[in-house]
C-alpha cells in the first residue's frame, strides 16, 4: 500500500447533515471510525452548546446505570459482558430506554430502602436483646443492694448515706441503658462524670460479638452500659450526653417479669423480621438479575449516544436551521466509505433529503494518519514517541522496522541471549489472542505491545551473535577453525628458518606462558572462517584487542551509512514538497560534507582491510594518523595508503570547505533573490497551495451561501499569502543554526555511534564475567559433589542471565538504539511537528464497566 512511507492524503470535508438524520449518520460514522471532527464552536462554552440537553440526559442515564452496576456488584451477581458491542440506540428507543431505566431505578431504590429499613430494625432489635442479656448481670448485682435502699438504711452505712437522703427527699432512681461504640467509652464515661459530678453509676461490659452499626453498616465492637442516676435534672443531662456520643439507648425494664416479657416479644419480632427480610432480599435479587442481563448493552449504548452528542455539539447550524454543518478531516482514500456511511445513516432514519458531503479547500495543515497493523504498530509508536510526523513527510518508521532491531542486535549480539529473547517474543506472538495477555498489568502489557519488536530484536541478535560467534559468552565451532596450531610445529624447516619465522618447538612451548600463531607461516592460516569470527579467538589473550578494533570500525561504518541514509531521505521530502532548491542548496552540500570526510574514512578502513595482508601488515599505516594528517598537512612526507593520496585528500578537503558556505548562505540568499526578483519559477509555492488550486472547481459547486463564505476564505488565504512576511534575518538565522548543528553534529554523531561498540563490548564482557564467576567455579569441583553443586549454580546462572543480561542489558541496548534513531538518524530529515489523526470511533470508547462507570 505504501502508506507507511508517507502519511495519507487528507481532505477537509464539509458534511451537511439534515437535522433529522444527523444522529443516525454520526452513529454510522462512529461505527466505522473514518473521520476526525473539527470543533466549530470553540468559543462557545460547554453549557451553551446546542445539544447540551441531550448530553445531560445521557449523564442522567449514566448515573442510573452506575447505580445499577453498583447495586448489582454489591449483590454479587455476575455481570455478563457481551461479545459484540450494540449500536447506538435509535432515537425512538432512547425515550423508552430512559423510562425503563428510571422505572427500574425507582423500584430498586424503594426496595433497597425497604430492605435497609428492615435491616436497621432487625439490627436494633438484636442490639436490644444483647443489651437485655448483658444488663441482667448488672441487675443481679443491683438486686443484692435493693433491700438496702428500699428500706431505711442503717445509719452506720456511710457509703449509702447519699442515696438514702435522696430517697427520703423523694427523688426517683432512674436507669438509662444502651450500647456504645467501643472507641467512645472512655470519653463518654469522663464526660458523664464531669457533667453529673459523680452522681451517676456507670456499669458497662463489652459485647463478645461485634455487631453491625445500623446507620453506617460497619461491623464494630460495642459496649453495653447501664447508668443509674438520681433526679430529673441529671437524667436530662445524661440523655443529652448519650445523644452526643451516638449511643443507642433502649428502655430499661424495671422488673424481672417485664424483662422476660420484652425478651420474648423481641424474639418473635426478630423471627418475623427475618422472614420478611429474606423475602425482600429474594425479590431484590430477582430484580437485579433481570437488570444485569441488559446492563452491559445499555452502558455501551449510552456511551455511544453521549459520544455522538458531543460530536454534534461541535457542528454549527446553517442559516435555515434545517441542517447541521460539520467539518471533518477524512483520508482521501476513505471518501467513498464516508459517502456510503452518510447514505446508510440517511436511509436508516428514513429521511427524504439525504445528507451529503463536500470537500472544501483549505490551507490548514491536516492531521497525520499512518495506517498500521499489529506488526508495524510498535515501530510507529517508537517514532511517534519522538514526535508525530508532519503531514505527508517521510515516515522513518518504515526503515525503523529493520534498522532498529539491527542496531539493537549490534549492541546485544549474543546467539544464546538472542534466541531466548526470540523464544519469549514468539510465545507472546503465538498467544496474542489470549485474553489474559490483553488485560495484563502495565509492565507485562509493555512487553506484549512490543512483541513484534522483541521478535525481530531476538532474531537479529541471533544473527549478530553468529557473526560475533558468541553464545552465552562462549564461541561455537561450527565449521572448524581456519587456524592450525600444528603448522607452527612444522618440522620441514631448518632450525635457522624456524627461529626466523618464530616457529615453536618443545622448549618454547614449555617455557612461554603465551604463544603466538603467525598467519604468515604457511599452513597456519587456512583462510577465513565461513561465517563471523573464528572460534579460535575465544582462546586468544589478545581477543579483546582484535574485537575492539573490529567493532569500532564496524560501528563507525554502520553509523555513517545510517546518517547518510537519513540525509538522502531528506531529499525525498524536498522533492515531495516541491522545494527543489533545498536539494541543491541544503541536501547536496550536506551529503558532500558528510561523504568527503567520513565517507573517505570508511573508504580508508575498507581499503586497508582489502589491501594489506598478514605479510604486509607491518608496513600498514595507521588510519587514525592518516585521517588526522588529512587536516594537518604535515611537512614530513609519510608513506600513505596509496599513491596520490595527498592530492585526493586536498581535493576532498576543498570540497568540504566549499560546501560549508553554501550550506550557510545558499538557501537564505536564494530566497532573498526570489523575493526581490519575484521570478516566476513557481518553486516557492508549497504543496498545500497546489492542493487548494485543484479543488477550486469544487468550491463552485457549493450552495450560494457557502460559495460566498468559501470565496471569502480563499481571499483571506491569498491575503495571508501576500502578507506572509519575508524576514531575511530570520531565515538566515535559522539556516545558520541548522548548519552549525549539522556540521558539528556530523562529528559528534559519528562519535555517538561508537556506543554500538561500547555496549556490545560491555555485553560480551558481562556475560563472560558471569560465566567465569559462576559456571566455571561449578565445573571445577570433582564429579561426586559437582552434580550437587552444579544444580544451584546453573539455576543462579539462569536467573542472573535473565535479569542482568537479558532484561537489564536489553533495556539499556534498547534505549541506546532508540536514541540513535531519534537523535542521530531522525534529525537529518524528520520534523515531527504534526498532529495525530484521531477519528471519531466507537472502538476508542472503553468497553468495560469498571473503568469509568461505578
Amino acid at each position: 500500500m505504501g502508506s507507511l512511507f508517507r502519511s495519507e492524503t487528507m481532505c477537509l470535508a464539509q458534511l451537511f447533515l439534515q437535522s433529522g438524520t444527523a444522529y443516525e449518520c454520526l452513529s454510522a460514522l462512529g461505527e466505522k471510525g473514518l473521520v476526525q471532527f473539527r470543533d466549530l464552536n470553540q468559543n462557545v462554552s460547554s453549557f451553551q452548546r446546542k445539544f447540551v440537553g441531550e448530553v445531560k440526559r445521557c449523564e442522567e442515564l449514566e448515573r442510573i446505570l452506575a447505580y445499577l452496576v453498583q447495586e448489582i456488584n454489591r449483590a454479587d451477581i455476575p455481570l455478563p459482558e457481551g461479545e459484540t458491542s450494540p449500536p447506538a440506540p435509535p432515537l425512538k428507543q432512547v425515550l423508552e430506554m430512559q423510562e425503563q431505566l428510571q422505572k427500574l431505578e425507582v423500584e430498586l431504590r424503594e426496595v433497597t430502602k425497604n430492605k435497609e429499613k428492615l435491616r436497621k430494625n432487625l439490627l436494633e432489635l438484636i442490639e436490644y436483646t444483647h443489651m437485655l442479656r448483658v444488663t441482667k448481670t448488672f441487675v443481679k448485682r443491683n438486686v443484692e443492694f435493693e433491700p438496702t435502699y428500699e428500706e431505711f438504711p442503717p445509719l452506720e452505712n456511710d457509703s449509702l448515706l447519699d442515696y438514702s437522703c435522696m430517697q427520703r427527699l423523694g427523688a426517683k432512681l432512674g436507669f438509662v441503658s444502651g450500647l456504645i461504640n467501643q472507641g467512645k467509652v472512655e470519653a463518654f464515661e469522663k464526660m458523664l462524670w464531669r457533667v453529673c459530678k459523680g452522681y451517676t453509676i456507670v456499669t458497662y461490659a463489652e459485647l463478645d460479638e461485634p455487631l453491625e452499626d445500623p446507620e453506617t453498616g460497619e461491623v464494630i465492637k460495642w459496649y453495653v452500659f447501664l447508668i443509674s442516676f438520681w433526679g430529673e435534672q441529671i437524667g436530662h443531662k445524661v440523655k443529652k450526653i448519650c445523644d452526643c456520643y451516638h449511643c443507642h439507648v433502649y428502655p430499661y425494664p424495671n422488673t424481672a417479669e417485664e424483662r422476660k416479657e420484652i425478651q420474648e416479644g423481641l424474639n418473635t419480632r426478630i423471627q418475623d423480621l427475618y422472614t420478611v427480610l429474606h423475602k425482600t432480599e429474594d425479590y431484590l435479587r430477582q430484580v437485579l438479575c433481570k437488570a444485569a442481563e441488559s446492563v452491559y448493552s445499555h452502558v455501551i449504548q449510552v456511551k455511544k449516544m453521549k459520544a455522538i452528542y458531543h460530536m454534534l455539539n461541535m457542528c454549527s447550524f446553517d442559516v435555515t436551521n434545517k441542517c447541521l454543518i460539520a467539518e471533518v478531516w477524512c483520508p482521501e482514500a476513505d471518501l467513498h466509505e464516508l459517502r456510503r456511511a452518510l447514505e446508510e445513516g440517511s436511509r436508516e432514519s428514513g429521511a427524504t433529503i439525504p445528507s451529503f458531503m463536500n470537500t472544501i479547500p483549505t490551507k490548514e495543515t491536516p492531521p497525520t494518519l499512518i495506517r498500521t497493523n499489529k506488526f508495524t504498530e510498535g515501530f510507529q509508536n517508537i517514532v511517534d514517541a519522538y514526535g508525530v510526523g508532519s503531514y505527508r513527510e517521510v515516515n522513518p518508521a518504515l526503515f525503523t522496522i529493520i534498522t532498529f532491531p539491527f542496531l539493537f542486535a549490534v549492541m546485544f549480539g549474543d546467539f544464546g541471549h538472542g534466541f531466548v529473547m526470540f523464544l519469549f517474543a514468539l510465545l507472546l506472538v503465538l498467544n496474542e489472542n489470549h485474553p489474559r495477555l490483553n488485560q495484563s498489568q502495565e509492565i507485562m502489557r509493555m512487553f506484549f505491545n512490543g512483541r513484534y519488536i522483541l521478535l525481530l530484536m531476538g532474531l537479529f541478535s541471533v544473527y549478530t551473535g553468529l557473526i560475533y560467534n558468541d553464545c552465552f559468552s562462549k564461541s561455537v565451532n561450527l565449521f572448524g577453525s581456519g587456524w592450525s596450531v600444528s603448522a607452527m610445529y612444522s618440522s620441514s624447516h631448518t632450525p635457522a628458518e624456524q627461529k626466523k619465522m618464530g616457529l615453536w618447538n618443545d622448549s618454547i612451548v614449555r617455557h612461554n606462558r603465551v604463544l603466538q600463531l603467525d598467519p604468515s607461516v604457511p599452513g597456519v592460516f587456512q583462510g577465513p572462517y565461513p561465517l563471523g569470527i573464528d572460534p579460535i579467538w575465544n582462546l586468544a589473550t589478545n581477543r579483546l584487542t582484535f574485537l575492539n578494533s573490529f567493532k569500532m570500525k564496524m560501528s563507525v561504518i554502520l553509523g555513517i551509512i545510517h546518517m547518510t541514509f537519513g540525509v538522502i531521505l531528506g531529499i525525498f521530502n524536498h522533492l515531495h514538497f516541491r522545494k527543489k532548491f533545498n536539494i541543491y542548496l541544503v541536501s547536496v552540500p550536506e551529503l558532500l560534507f558528510m561523504l568527503c570526510i567520513f565517507g573517505y574514512l570508511i573508504f580508508m578502513i575498507v581499503y586497508k582491510w582489502l589491501v594489506y595482508s598478514a605479510e604486509t601488515s607491518r608496513v600498514a599505516p595507521s588510519i587514525l594518523i592518516e585521517f588526522i594528517n588529512m587536516f594537518l598537512f604535515p611537512a614530513s612526507e609519510t608513506n600513505g595508503l596509496y599513491s596520490g593520496q595527498e592530492r585526493v585528500q586536498r581535493l576532498l578537503l576543498a570540497v568540504t570547505a566549499l560546501s560549508v558556505p553554501v550550506l550557510f548562505l545558499g538557501k537564505p540568499l536564494f530566497l532573498l533573490w526570489l523575493h526581490n526578483g519575484r521570478s516566476c519559477f513557481g518553486v516557492s509555492r508549497s504543496g498545500y497551495t497546489l492542493v487548494r488550486k485543484d479543488s477550486e472547481e469544487e468550491v463552485s459547486l457549493l450552495g450560494s451561501q457557502d460559495i460566498e463564505e468559501g470565496n471569502n476564505q480563499i481571499e483571506d488565504g491569498y491575503r495571508e499569502m501576500m502578507c506572509e512576511e519575508f524576514n531575511f534575518g530570520e531565515i538566515l538565522m535559522t539556516q545558520v543554526i541548522h548548519s552549525i548543528e549539522y556540521c558539528l553534529g556530523c562529528i559528534s554523531n559519528t562519535a555517538s555511534y561508537l556506543r554500538l561498540w561500547a555496549l556490545s563490548l560491555a555485553h560480551a564482557q558481562l556475560s563472560d564475567v558471569l560465566w567465569t564467576m559462576l559456571v566455571r567455579v561449578g565445573l571445577r569441583v570433582d564429579t561426586t559433589y559437582g552434580v550437587l553443586l552444579l544444580l544451584p549454580v546453573i539455576a543462579l546462572f539462569a536467573v542472573l542471565t535473565i535479569f542482568i543480561l537479558l532484561i537489564m542489558e536489553g533495556l539499556s541496548a534498547f534505549l541506546h538504539a532508540i536514541r540513535l534513531h531519534w537523535v542521530e538518524f531522525q534529525n537529518k530529515f524528520y520534523v515531527g511537528a504534526g498532529t495525530k489523526f484521531v477519528p471519531f470511533s466507537f472502538r476508542l470508547l472503553s468497553s468495560k464497566f469498571s473503568d469509568d462507570v461505578a
Binding site: K56, A187, K190, M191, K237, D243
Partner: protein
C-alpha cells in the same frame, strides 16, 4: 526550631507541601469565573464545574439542585482534602492544623449554643456546622448553662480548652454573652496561634505572622463596627480586641474610643496598611463594603504566601483561598437562583 528550614523541611512535610501546591493550581481561574457568571441555571453551573477540578462532585445529587447542596458538597470536598493533609502530617505541622481547625470549632460551638438558646434541635443545627470544626463533644454543648460549666463539662479535653482562661464567668448564657464569649475565645485563639507561629520561627513565622496580624486587626475593626449602637461599653469592647495585630496597643486604644465609622477611619489612617483599604470602601450606595475590601486583602496575602517555600503558611492560605472560592461560587449560584444578576459580578477574584 533552628533557622534554615530548607535543609530538613522536605523530610517531614515535603510531600504535603507539594500536594497543597498542586491543589492550589486547581483553584478556579478568571476564565472559569467569567463562564460561571454567564450561566443561566444551577444546572449550567454544575456542568461548568464538571469541567474544572471539582469534577462530577454533584453527580450523585438528585434533582432539583439547590445552592445549599452545592455548598455542602464543596465543603465536603474541602474537608476531605484537609483530612488527608491532617492525617499525613507530622508534628509540628499537625499542631498547626489543629490550630487551623480551632476557629471553625469556636464557630460551631457558638452556633450550637445559639441554637440551644432558640430551642432548636441539635440535629437541625449540626447540618449547618462547618465540617472542619466538627468534634465529638460538640453535640453536648447545650448541657452547659454558664461558660465555666461549658468549659468544665464539655470542652476541657478539646483543643479549645486553653482559650477559656479569660472567659470563665458565672454569667448565664444569653445572646449577648454568647457573642462576647465568641469574641473572647477568638481573641485568645488568635493570640495563641500567633504565639505558636512566632515561636516556630523561620519562614512560617515570616508568612503566618502578617496574616494573623491582619486577621486580628480585621476582627478589631469588625468588632468596633458591630458594637456601634449596642449596649456594649467601651471598656468591654477593648477587652475583646485581639492584641497580636499591628494596631496593638495605640490603635486599639483609639479604636475603643471610636464612636462612628468616620472615627474608625481616622484610626486606620495612621496605618499605612489599612489606609488604602478604608479608602477603597464605597460610601453607602454601590462600591465595596468594608468586608469585601478585607476579603480582597486577605486573598492577596494568601496568594503571596505561595511565593515562599518551606513553610506551613501554604496550608492555611490554601484553606482560606478555597473557602473564598466556595463563597464566590455560592454567591454566584445564589445570584443565579434568585435571578438577581445585577450584583453577580461582585465576587472576590482570586488572583
Amino acid at each position: 526550631m533552628l533557622e534554615g528550614a530548607e535543609f530538613y523541611f522536605n523530610v517531614d512535610h515535603g510531600y504535603l507541601e507539594g500536594l497543597v501546591r498542586g491543589c492550589k493550581a486547581s483553584l478556579l481561574t478568571q476564565q472559569d469565573y467569567i463562564n460561571l457568571v454567564q450561566c443561566e441555571t444551577l444546572e449550567d453551573v454544575k456542568i461548568h464545574l464538571q469541567t474544572t477540578d471539582y469534577g462530577n462532585f454533584l453527580a450523585n445529587q438528585t434533582n432539583p439542585l439547590t445552592v445549599s447542596k452545592i455548598d455542602m458538597e464543596m465543603r465536603k470536598k474541602l474537608c476531605r482534602e484537609f483530612e488527608y493533609f491532617r492525617n499525613h502530617s507530622l508534628e509540628p505541622l499537625s499542631t498547626f492544623f489543629t490550630y487551623m481547625t480551632c476557629s471553625y470549632m469556636i464557630d460551631n460551638v457558638i452556633l450550637l449554643m445559639n441554637g440551644a438558646l432558640q430551642k432548636k434541635s441539635v440535629k437541625e443545627i449540626l447540618v449547618k456546622c462547618h465540617p472542619l470544626g466538627r468534634f465529638t463533644e460538640m453535640e453536648a454543648v447545650n448541657i452547659a448553662e454558664t461558660p465555666s460549666d461549658l468549659f468544665n463539662a464539655v470542652l476541657v479535653e478539646t483543643p479549645l480548652a486553653p482559650f477559656f482562661q479569660d472567659c470563665m464567668s458565672e454569667n448565664t448564657l444569653d445572646e449577648l454573652n454568647i457573642e462576647l464569649l465568641r469574641n473572647k475565645l477568638y481573641k485568645s485563639y488568635l493570640e495563641a496561634f500567633y504565639k505558636f507561629c512566632k515561636n516556630h520561627g523561620d519562614v512560617t513565622a515570616e508568612i503566618m505572622c502578617p496574616i494573623l496580624e491582619f486577621e486580628a486587626d480585621r476582627r478589631a475593626f469588625i468588632i468596633t463596627l458591630n458594637s456601634f449602637g449596642t449596649e456594649l461599653s467601651k471598656d468591654d469592647r477593648e477587652t475583646l480586641y485581639p492584641t497580636c495585630g499591628k494596631l496593638y496597643p495605640e490603635g486599639l486604644r483609639l479604636l475603643a474610643q471610636a464612636e462612628d465609622f468616620d472615627q474608625m477611619r481616622r484610626v486606620a489612617d495612621h496605618y499605612g496598611v489599612y489606609k488604602p483599604l478604608f479608602e477603597a470602601v464605597g460610601d453607602g450606595s454601590g462600591g465595596k463594603t468594608l468586608e469585601d475590601v478585607f476579603y480582597e486583602r486577605e486573598v492577596q496575602m494568601n496568594v503571596l504566601a505561595f511565593n515562599r517555600q518551606f513553610h506551613y503558611g501554604v496550608f492555611y492560605a490554601y484553606t482560606k483561598l478555597k473557602e473564598q472560592e466556595m463563597r464566590n461560587i455560592v454567591w454566584i449560584a445564589e445570584c443565579i437562583s434568585q435571578r438577581h444578576r445585577t450584583k453577580i459580578n461582585s465576587y472576590i477574584p482570586i488572583l
